[in-house]
């Protein structure tokens, strides 16, 4: 009876309810282990500090140059945190349920798969914002200076495109890990590939020429380029308008391809009976 009532609700409201339920489920799991929050708050600034000190060995001693490097690098750090959500948040969500033996219950719920996964993404995105904000304040207090954000509206728009694309990529990844199982090797390779090739931490112009073509073929390179341009007014790789138009098309395409692939892999896994195989 409850199910019939639930299914009779109009689609947008049902999706909103599913999203809320998925978000709350993940949020409750997260706060059940305070060590996770402590780990996020301690580890994230430490990763930044760890790399930042290493990089200062190469820097000239003039303060202006180091300051620009710091802002550039700090935005790179934010791009990495955001991408880690794609890999370990969206991508790993299905694998986590699989390992815990709860994937069948998850999939048997009368809810849209994508909404459930996006609910998890929303929780992690919220935590990411908390960690990034906290790290920004921490670095400001340690003398890092205020973080510039010259074009906030453009930055938010580019961030939105990045997130749409990253949910699509995460869904593709979630599907792949449901099929391939071996998660850690694949996620580490993709994550480090992203860090090195997309220009998150340094401009793609630093990458030697034959390899730079690989960077230019990765969609995330352009989302990062646009966000950094909006934040720091750095030059874009291609003309700005062209990059925005391409980024919108690519972001939507990535979401559609990711969803379609995930659905296809799930159907295939159901037919083969491999949905919960460890």
């Amino acid at each position: 009876m409850l199910l019939v009532n639930y299914l009779s609700i109009d689609v947008p409201r049902r999706l909103a309810e599913e999203f809320k339920a998925a978000f709350m489920k993940d949020f409750r799991s997260y706060i059940r282990y305070p060590a996770w929050l402590v780990g996020d708050l301690v580890s994230t600034p430490l990763w930044f500090f760890f790399f930042a000190v290493g990089v200062t060995l190469f820097a000239p001693t003039t303060q202006t140059s180091e300051y620009h490097g710091f802002s550039f690098f700090f935005f790179g750090f934010i791009f990495i945190v955001l991408f880690s959500t794609t890999i370990w948040g969206v991508g790993q969500s299905v694998r986590n349920e699989q390992m815990a033996g709860t994937l069948e219950q998850f999939f048997l719920a009368p809810a849209n798969r994508l909404t459930l996964i996006i609910g998890r993404w929303a929780r992690i995105f919220l935590t990411d914002l908390l960690v990034v904000g906290y790290t920004t304040i921490l670095l400001y207090l340690f003398g890092g200076g205020p973080l510039p954000l010259y074009e906030p509206a453009h930055f938010t728009f580019a961030l939105g495109l990045f997130e749409v694309a990253s949910i699509g990529f995460g869904l593709l990844f979630a599907g792949l890990t449901m099929k391939l199982k071996s998660y850690n090797t694949l996620s580490n390779l993709v994550f480090f590939g992203y860090m090195i090739l997309t220009g998150a931490l340094f401009p793609v112009t630093v990458i030697p020429m034959p390899y730079r073509y690989v960077s230019l073929a990765i969609p995330f390179t352009y989302f990062i380029d646009l966000m950094r341009h909006a934040a720091l007014l750095t030059p874009t790789i291609f003309p700005e308008n062209l990059e925005y138009v391409s980024a919108v098309i690519v972001a939507v395409a990535m979401l559609l391809v990711g969803s379609a692939t995930f659905n296809w892999i799930e159907r295939d896994a159901r037919a083969r009976g491999s949905i919960a195989t460890n």
């Binding site: 000190v53 290493g54 990089v55 060995l57 190469f58 820097a59 690098f73 580490n188 990458i207």
Partner: protein, 243 residues
């Protein structure tokens, strides 16, 4: 792969920030222009340390999760022997990491440095002993508080930051350098760089070798005592196999 990837990242960022003078700036601050070997030595020791602390620390948690911890503890075997047994596996793993990462780097960049490589390897073996002590400490900590990966990640990051993995500890504030001075990896990394990049020998570096020997006694002793204490507490409160 990780030490290579981290080194590539830092070098890429460094080249961007330092421009054409990046290598010169690096040499001014570290005393060597061999960026790759300098960074790879730090990265390899850090990864070794990460594997030891995590594996030894998490091994008992794995038994706990499988429900086999009680059988292990009921076996007529000394706990110390059990922990040492777990640690021995890691000697093989860490040796392989070191030989592949540092061996490959030196083979390409300093092909004649066999003797220095051998001395660096001996130094690594000595440096592993206090690390096992840290692993014992985490074994107890994990039995008591669960959630091993978050704690080992935090601790390994703190180690990476304090021990001068990708920079000399001398650029850190004085009070941080004091903390660095009680960590064995600081001496292993610094001495390895001295041996391979500055033609020093183990004999010349006897001062810090003695400190490392002292840490090799202190850490396992303290680690085991902490482990016993936390294990005893957990057995009294019934926390040994709780999720």
């Amino acid at each position: 792969m990780l030490p290579f990837l981290f080194t590539m990242l830092i070098f890429g960022m460094g080249r961007f920030i330092g421009g054409g003078n990046a290598a010169l700036n690096f040499a001014t601050r570290t005393g060597t222009s061999n960026v790759l070997v300098y960074e790879m030595l730090g990265g390899a020791v850090w990864m070794t340390s990460w594997v030891v602390v995590e594996d030894v620390g998490v091994a008992l948690r794995d038994e706990q999760m499988k429900g086999t911890l009680e059988q292990n503890f009921l076996a007529p075997v000394n706990r110390f022997t059990l922990l040492i047994g777990i640690s021995l596996t890691d000697i093989a793993i860490t040796t392989a990491i070191f030989l592949v990462v540092v061996g490959a780097t030196l083979a390409f960049t300093m092909p004649g440095a066999y003797l220095a490589f051998f001395q660096a390897f001996l130094l690594l073996l000595l440096g592993l002993v206090p690390l096992f002590g840290l692993g014992f400490f985490f074994s107890g900590f994990v039995i008591k508080f669960k959630e091993p990966y978050i704690f080992t990640q935090m601790v390994n990051l703190i180690f990476g930051t304090l021990t001068g993995t990708y920079y000399p500890v001398t650029i850190l504030p004085y009070w941080v350098q004091f903390l660095s001075g009680v960590l064995p990896q600081t001496y292993v990394i610094s001495n390895m760089r001295q041996i391979i990049l500055a033609n020093q020998t183990l004999v010349n570096l006897y001062g810090s070798i003695f400190i490392l020997l002292a840490l090799a006694i202190v850490y396992p002793t303290l680690g085991y005592l902490v482990f016993k204490k936390l294990e005893k507490d957990a057995s009294v409160t019934g926390e040994l196999s709780k999720y």
